[in-house]
Symmetry: C2
Subunit: 781 residues, 2 copies
Amino acid sequence: MIEQRAFSVEAWGLTETELRLDLIAQAESLFALSNGHIGLRGNLDEGEPHGLPGTYLNSVHELRPLPYAEAGYGFPESGQTVINVTNGKIMRLLVDDEPFDVRYGQLRKHVRHLDFREGVLTRVAEWTSPARRTVRVTSKRLVSFTHRSIVAIVYEVEPLDGPATLVVQSELMANEALPPMGRDPREAAVLEAPLRSLEYESRDSMVELVHETKNSGIRMAAAMDHVITGTDAVRIAKNVAPDIGRVVVTDHLQPGQRLRIVKFLAYGWSRQRSLPAVRDQVGAALTSAHHAGVDALFAEQKAYLDDFWARADVDLEGDTEIQQAVRFALFHVLQAGARAELRPIPAKGLTGPGYDGHAFWDTETFVLPVLTYTNPQSVADVLRWRHGTLPIAKDRARQLGLAGAAFPWRTITGEECSAYWPAGTAAFHVNADIADAAIRYVEVTDDRAFEEETGLELLIETARLWRSLGHYDVHGDFRIDGVTGPDEYSALADNNLYTNLMAQRNLLGAADACERHLEKARCCGVTADEMAEWRAAARAVLVPYDEDLGVHQQADGFTRHQLWDFDHTKPEQYPLLLSFPYFDIYRKQVVKQSDLVLAMHLCGHAFSAEQKAKNFEYYERITVRDSSLSACTQAVLAAEVGHMALAFDYLAECALLDLQDLQHNTRNGLHIAALAGTWIALVAGLGGMRDENGVIAFAPRLPEGLTRLTFTLTRRGLQLRVTVLSNEASYELLHGEGSMEILHHGERLTVEDGVAVRRAIPTAVPRPTPTQPKGREPRHR
Amino acid sequence: MIEQRAFSVEAWGLTETELRLDLIAQAESLFALSNGHIGLRGNLDEGEPHGLPGTYLNSVHELRPLPYAEAGYGFPESGQTVINVTNGKIMRLLVDDEPFDVRYGQLRKHVRHLDFREGVLTRVAEWTSPARRTVRVTSKRLVSFTHRSIVAIVYEVEPLDGPATLVVQSELMANEALPPMGRDPREAAVLEAPLRSLEYESRDSMVELVHETKNSGIRMAAAMDHVITGTDAVRIAKNVAPDIGRVVVTDHLQPGQRLRIVKFLAYGWSRQRSLPAVRDQVGAALTSAHHAGVDALFAEQKAYLDDFWARADVDLEGDTEIQQAVRFALFHVLQAGARAELRPIPAKGLTGPGYDGHAFWDTETFVLPVLTYTNPQSVADVLRWRHGTLPIAKDRARQLGLAGAAFPWRTITGEECSAYWPAGTAAFHVNADIADAAIRYVEVTDDRAFEEETGLELLIETARLWRSLGHYDVHGDFRIDGVTGPDEYSALADNNLYTNLMAQRNLLGAADACERHLEKARCCGVTADEMAEWRAAARAVLVPYDEDLGVHQQADGFTRHQLWDFDHTKPEQYPLLLSFPYFDIYRKQVVKQSDLVLAMHLCGHAFSAEQKAKNFEYYERITVRDSSLSACTQAVLAAEVGHMALAFDYLAECALLDLQDLQHNTRNGLHIAALAGTWIALVAGLGGMRDENGVIAFAPRLPEGLTRLTFTLTRRGLQLRVTVLSNEASYELLHGEGSMEILHHGERLTVEDGVAVRRAIPTAVPRPTPTQPKGREPRHR
């Protein structure tokens, strides 16, 4: 946890003014730059000290065997792990032969600043070497949103207190040594030096290394080129070997003189294309960037972000920390998804190696809803990636004895990589989550071409999965037995309520989409009978309810289980999964993360207002939030049932998760879905936004502590700005022609172009504040 | 499977008259000799060819890491695997420098015979060498029941058709190469050469090797000594090295002359005692055997077995195969348990390395009931072994957050070695099974000293476990959620009926035993309140029942699950667990092995006769018998509800399991529990024996195909012989004074010493024959 504020609180950026070695790994995650295609951790230019060096390329991974002491049929045998690729961000500096290393000499000034509007990480350091020469180092770094293969670095050095001989080594380094991670020796063995050199070359100030991964067979090229401005004394040398390339710049400067190195870095990779193709692609990208020039790259970066913020910004008054946090969140969500383009958005984006670089259901359930309203193109791209993995998912379904497609619980390329099936394979809801994301995307964008080309087949194959996974019992209920819902503190339950309701949506959504695209559906073999079967199953879906307690059940029998003994659970025993066996956790009433509560958010129509309030209170008492994917949903439902202070507490927990390292694992990368959850907590929580049944609804209400909340979203080509004050809300279409039907606290309104519609906010029904497990109350905001 | 009869059908032995290399591994298991302390597979004297060389010492094992791709809290990290120890049964023979190897030259005669009354494996081979010299080799081998550290081998060779120079190398060989087993390279690495030499020496014709296991730290000594009778030309040499000792006997014989080598082999091992102590123990055993002489060893062996058969024999008319099979079964059950003495009885006894040499619940539930009535001392010994592991089981309970003791699912020394927790740790019924065995042993033997010293604490600590594992729900039902019952095709269910009823017995049995030993119970901290709590929980145990279908549920919700699609399951897809994922299997109605049906056998009082019939029929339809632990119980219940032909079919399947290799894995060792099941199918099945509520009951009835069944059992010091004919049964006390109350088909009788009581057998209520899943019908007898 980052207890003390190590970073500034500001509206549009994140600034560090002191280099704390104990927080260096966390800062590397927070300062990570990415465009969804390439990701760089915020390592210092000189490479060391570091928490965890990291350069990631979307989907570049290595395979490793998944060991089982007792294997079973269908257990995946091979895992995929994201690898740290050739590091091109290293700029080593020697000042009169002394290596610049902040651990030696004296760091007189240190400022790093990530600017959310510029999309640039800048650094200013003033350092006195052990030999007492002081220099100023200034660097700027970007991963381009507009040139997706390109990284640009501007590195400048100037002596401050006397002449100095400076040497800068600009490097490309493959198979970099990493600090030890896992305890499994085989894992370490495989991933220690995952790259095998295929080719290396240099030309002028350009150096290029081509490698391939040993087992996964991905060819990968990295190249750098430079524009160097120094004194007349400047000299350039270079050397290159299989795993290292260096361009070495030497200059002798007086105070007031400056050595400036612009470094362009390009990456390309493919499992299909040949070595020359991959190499030439990188060369072309480098040339194009070079020709554009670094100033153009910075300008384009800003323009790209200006566009984004105009569509996506959330602006609020009353809480600067939350203001900063939501922009930080949106910036990183954009970075994760912007240019992923037919590749996944991993749980950590490209900010760290956590979760092996895998993508989970979080992408579809938390990240894509945000992007759907703010950057829809990247939603279509991620779903096209899923669509591209349909052959693998169909094979997996067949292997599991099911129809349709079974998407993996965790993966990089589409193969199931989960080695613990009760919390992997059995978590079938991922399929409905993908379908839900496709339904939402089409609903919000009206992108019928996408629906026909991509969404329809996703819906059909997942609907087929559900139809084969469920069955009718003697009472005619459609049951889905033995699956695991979102709450990872339960497993293999019958009729998980979330799963059943999401399957219902999936089945209906597939039938609806087929009706819109009858011909294409027929090509996929869908008949009227099959569509009717989907609708029938959806209608008959079992929704477990405890009549005695008057609450819904997370799954059959759940509310009859023993209550977890919260009173005797010590604070250091959380997260429970590290202190108690699954056996104990699964069989008791204790909830890791919103499950039934998430169902109440995403499938609100299935519950009455009174049921929502009672359910929320019941599950609040047993939810421990050992997952980062809980607080945002609790914020949404707390707001809906009228606990605005509690909603604000959960919003803050979600918003500050990484900025304050609340889960003690920000070092391994940011929690992209939880960051997206910040927007959800604000827009669906405080804003009360729901988008079911063809009309977008709001039920805004501010907690004490906020005086204004403004957010913008795009629906069917229209940009709507919502401004919430304590007593009223206003709705306004920003540009473009047309009008939008909306609901405000249940009242139907039409918002016309150019006319803000204002409405009063009704007072909430007062309810007793719900309680949480002892010691698991959210921090009060 | 052994399709064609490769072995004789005879009443008191097993004879092989042809050496079939394709069945050599199965024959090694069938011809295995053991006293429960030492076990030798039936390898040929000359060591090769072999299926699997095997010499096992009870509990001598090596440790190996248990790998997890995704580990969890409380997953065991170290596994135990039985090892093949120093092989002392090798007698290599050279005839005029040609090694005797049945794969070369011509094997003119081959007979191996295992005699159930002698306890000896004999072999006669006549072989013509490639150089055309013919010899007769005769060997006899025993593992002594009376000298538990001793193996004796008598090896004789004579030339038949001309003079020959014979060389016999009698060996001790450690770290013998084994054929590849598992595919995990680490497993192989650890177990390839598990022994490290500590010392080796020789004296006269004695050779001794002392080793220790590398990781588990067990010191183990093996020694051999010889009595050699040959011509005047006989010469003896020897050599010894860390892993090999040889005594080499050379002689030149004429036809009619014979070289005879008596080999005594002794083993000793300990984790505690010093090298000299272990070494000297072996020397002493060897000396003692030597002094007794080999003839005395054979005579003692026979006397020991005469005693056993007088107590335990099951004699029947009408089916010689079953007659042979039940004696084969009893012989091997005795071999597994006779001298285990504070060590476990593994699932495979000491006949092979299957299941890593682990002991499971099978021992208590299937093996001990048989031994309780036929060789009770070994029951007390096994339970004392369990008692000795109580500290480990208490630690495990604590680790799992439970009170009392949690015994392991699979183990050699008491530590949990199950690496797949849904079918390991979660199968808590093992604790009630142990308690049940203790309750039965005390009930049948009235061994109050054992109860006070051993049984009581086992009952108390397991009762405490159940009390902490269960809880009361809002209706006051005592529930045990999220556990796995005997049926391994379900897992993590709520209120597994078998588990709940066995827990009930455990709780009541503990309270009863505490009342009999109040002072000792008080020493264990048991209060009157605790006893009352146990009784209350037992009374409130939930017994799941489906009112709609009118049958009991294997667990909550079980009968609402989808039926397995038996019609589309191909014969080669059985056992299902090798063709379908657990995910699919667990969530459907398909039963691997008797679970609810086993509850109806062991807890018959909880069901009405009508319920038993309906339940049997219901579960019969979905039970596939992919486990060897199913047919015997199905035989018992089929007989009880009146399906005598079906009972006979299941009895035969159980009886012939290993003799015909029905499960295709007899090569890895015999199924000791299924062998015990043969007795259970006969005595509890056809004999209808139940022993609840202080009185032993019979309800005998013969199927067509049998004309007489006679069995003997000992209860409270009295030997009762039961003879069942088609129309009547007779009960007779064999010796000893006293009288025994029994029930015959519900009628209470008193059997007095010396007077046989005869009663007619009532005709069975006719019922429609139940059906099994398609293709899983038992073979009709």
